[in-house]
Symmetry: C2
Subunit: 218 residues, 2 copies
């Protein structure tokens, strides 16, 4: 779900902001459309594949930490045993019970490492299929979000008119999408809607102003 949110909000935001920026600099709707399509292709691949690789390096990181913890247990068992003791004491165990709980957990190296990873390093165990799904989800959400702002340009409207329609459509979509995001992540829907619309407007506004400023020097 987080992946859909990331992909979709960037997909709505960046191609729209680019279209708005170019609208300040060129008079051909078609050129804005071509740039927008190039951006969607690039962005969806970068985010999708990027998400895949990030997910995979999370997995590699977890595996590396697992092995490091296993080495520590072999090389410095007393220090690691003291850490288990400290964590369990933090949960309220004491006296003889603490001694025997430490002994029970450290009797099995697999349990011991597992306990340390969750309670000392607070690492989440990455799911196997997660990296691949994450990639697909982010990439497709980006494409879905990115097409909408380009529709008015694709219909061949003149640039100022296309920009007006694109801004209106995208703003509406950001509000709806932001409210849905708010509901899913447990924050209030209104806050989600406002936040998402503000990010989109800031990105598009900055791109528009910068493009306008730079195009004066052309």
């Amino acid at each position: 779900m987080r992946d859909v949110i990331i992909g979709m909000s960037d997909g709505l935001t960046v191609p729209f902001a680019l279209a708005a920026g170019l609208s300040a600099a060129v008079s051909s709707s078609f050129l804005v459309l071509v740039a927008g399509i190039a951006e969607i292709a690039a962005g969806s691949i970068a985010m999708g594949l990027g998400g895949y690789l990030a997910g995979r390096s999370d997995r590699d990181h977890y595996r590396a930490e697992w092995e490091r913890e296993q080495r520590h247990i072999k090389q410095a068992p007393e220090a690691e045993r003291a850490e288990v003791r400290e964590i369990l004491a933090g949960y309220g165990l004491g006296d003889e019970m603490l001694d025997s709980a430490v002994a029970a957990i450290t009797a099995n190296p697999r349990h011991w490492v597992d306990f340390m990873l969750r309670n000392e390093l607070e690492l989440e165990r990455p799911e196997a299929a997660r990296a691949r799904n994450s990639a697909l989800t982010i990439g497709l959400s980006y494409v879905a979000g990115g097409i909408l702002p380009l529709v008015p340009y694709a219909l061949g409207l003149a640039v100022p008119m296309a920009l007006t329609w694109s801004a209106g459509l995208t703003f509406l979509a950001l509000l709806i999408f932001g409210a849905a995001k708010g509901k899913v992540t447990g924050i209030r829907m209104l806050r989600g809607a406002v936040e998402t619309a503000v990010v989109g407007s800031l990105a598009a506004g900055s791109a528009y102003l910068l493009a306008r400023l730079v195009s004066r020097f052309g």
Copy 2:
């Protein structure tokens, strides 16, 4: 570090891919530069603010889960106590010691909730300053990565020449950056370099081909 990787790799990849795509469709280096600058502005704000908001909703999610777990403990203490028991048994505790460890942890509601969040839900406790730092890091990395591919266009080279230089510079940067990423994340440096360069090349190649295809219908 993950944020720098995400921001920088997208920053190198997307503006370059957009520049390559537009190079297939227009003959003005200046226009490519304007589009690239608009993209960097939009992308850095979308990723930076997006990262900030994602970090903050992680924090809100953690808080919501904490409260939900606390309610469960009040409403269905026996079921939650059985879960603690199951987790501790999984760590190798048994017999009377298991009983007394369960009793000790569930004696204090704060310890109880803490134990469930780490060991049942495997949630990482989000750090307070993380959302803000994450935003700044992703945004700035995106700008830093995005400027490089645009330099040849800014120098006013003709489009085909600018594209050649931009591709060469970006490819080199992706290799170096990818190797650094590989080292940081613990995978092999060579693998990191190859992966990052492949993502960049795929994104730029797709943008180039799509832009070329679409611009035929203009």
